[in-house]
């Protein structure tokens, strides 16, 4: 993947496939500890204990349309290349949590990319799912909760193009304010 926002788009698809109705995406940029961490937590059906060790195996997948599952293995590989790591915990029936850490200063750490359009796309095309996005840097923090968005829209479709473009711009503008990387 060219940037981290595409990894997020990819991994969140797993949460959606697992039937999650609430997905939290949290980014923490900690230059003091030289860590760039991302956490994706969902309340989907979870992963069975016997499968948990295998989800980062590219030849293991729950899908039936193909025999490989590349999303988590690629993310893990990219994180480890920067001196980071990926960990997964899950409780069947309750949900899954994925935490991935990249070396903040490592030259191989991809940039975040257009996270605004990624989150707006996820929100717009999954109106039944509550997304909570938070991004924290040394300069500040930004949070977006789609429950608040829906309340503001008061009946207007969250799937419409003007709302999609607004959310995309709002997210990117606010992230620029906190100097994300």
């Amino acid at each position: 993947m060219k940037d981290l926002s595409l990894h997020i788009l990819d991994i969140v698809q797993n949460s959606i496939s697992a039937g999650a109705l609430e997905i939290k995406v949290s980014i923490l940029e900690d230059q003091d500890r030289d860590q760039y961490s991302m956490e994706i937590i969902d309340n989907g059906r979870g992963i069975k204990a016997e499968d948990l060790d295998r989800v980062t195996d590219p030849f293991f997948t729950s899908r039936t349309t193909r025999k490989v599952g590349m999303g988590l293995p690629l993310l893990k590989q990219n994180a480890e290349r920067t001196g980071g790591s990926l960990s997964i915990s899950s409780t069947p029936g309750k949900g899954t949590s994925i935490n991935v850490v990249f070396g903040w200063s490592n030259i191989d750490r991809p940039s975040m990319g257009d996270i605004g359009s990624t989150m707006a796309l996820l929100i717009s095309s999954n109106p039944a799912i509550r997304f909570i996005y938070t991004h924290t840097t040394a300069s500040g923090s930004f949070k977006l909760d789609t429950n608040e968005v829906i309340e503001m829209l008061d009946g207007l479709s969250i799937t419409s193009a003007p709302v999609y473009n607004f959310l995309k711009e709002m997210i990117n503008e606010n992230l620029r304010e906190i100097q994300f990387s």
């Binding site: 788009l9 796309l121 968005v149 709002m170």
Partner: protein, 136 residues
């Protein structure tokens, strides 16, 4: 310091768009609209599916075409990503492969608006269990 958008601005946007009732009606009758599903698995995302989906969302709005654009998982055509499934009301779904924004534009102008088939169709190689039962 330039103004940064907030949820308060979203309320204002909502008021500005209030008159466009079609936005409200859209969510109530998806089956009467063009439906575009964009495959958004790892191979699709890596091949540019996100840009394709964004293109459809914006272009349907600009061209005033009532449509629902959603994302779906892997459809199994990893060799031909990005792939999309287009369902025009009253027609069978058609899967297109190797879809970039240029092909997406062609699909909108030729297939969706005029019913003219374009290159890049991936033929269906399976039938659902229900159809097989009906044929027996």
């Amino acid at each position: 310091m330039s103004h940064v958008k907030s949820l308060a601005d979203l309320r204002k946007l909502k008021e500005d768009l209030q008159g466009k009732m079609s936005l409200r009606e859209k969510s109530n009758h998806p089956e009467s609209m063009v439906q575009v599903k964009v495959a958004m698995a790892t191979c699709g995302i890596a091949s540019g599916a996100k840009q394709v989906m964004e293109f459809f969302i914006n272009e349907f709005d600009k061209r005033n075409i009532q449509a629902v654009v959603t994302q779906t998982g892997c459809m199994g055509y990893c060799y031909a990503e990005p792939t999309i499934e287009v369902t025009v009301p009253g027609q069978e779904p058609i899967v297109f492969g190797y879809v970039d924004t240029k092909k997406a534009d062609e699909i909108i102008e030729k297939y969706i608006k005029n019913g003219e088939l374009v290159e890049g169709i991936i033929p269906v190689k399976y039938q659902s269990i229900e159809i097989n039962k009906e044929n027996k």
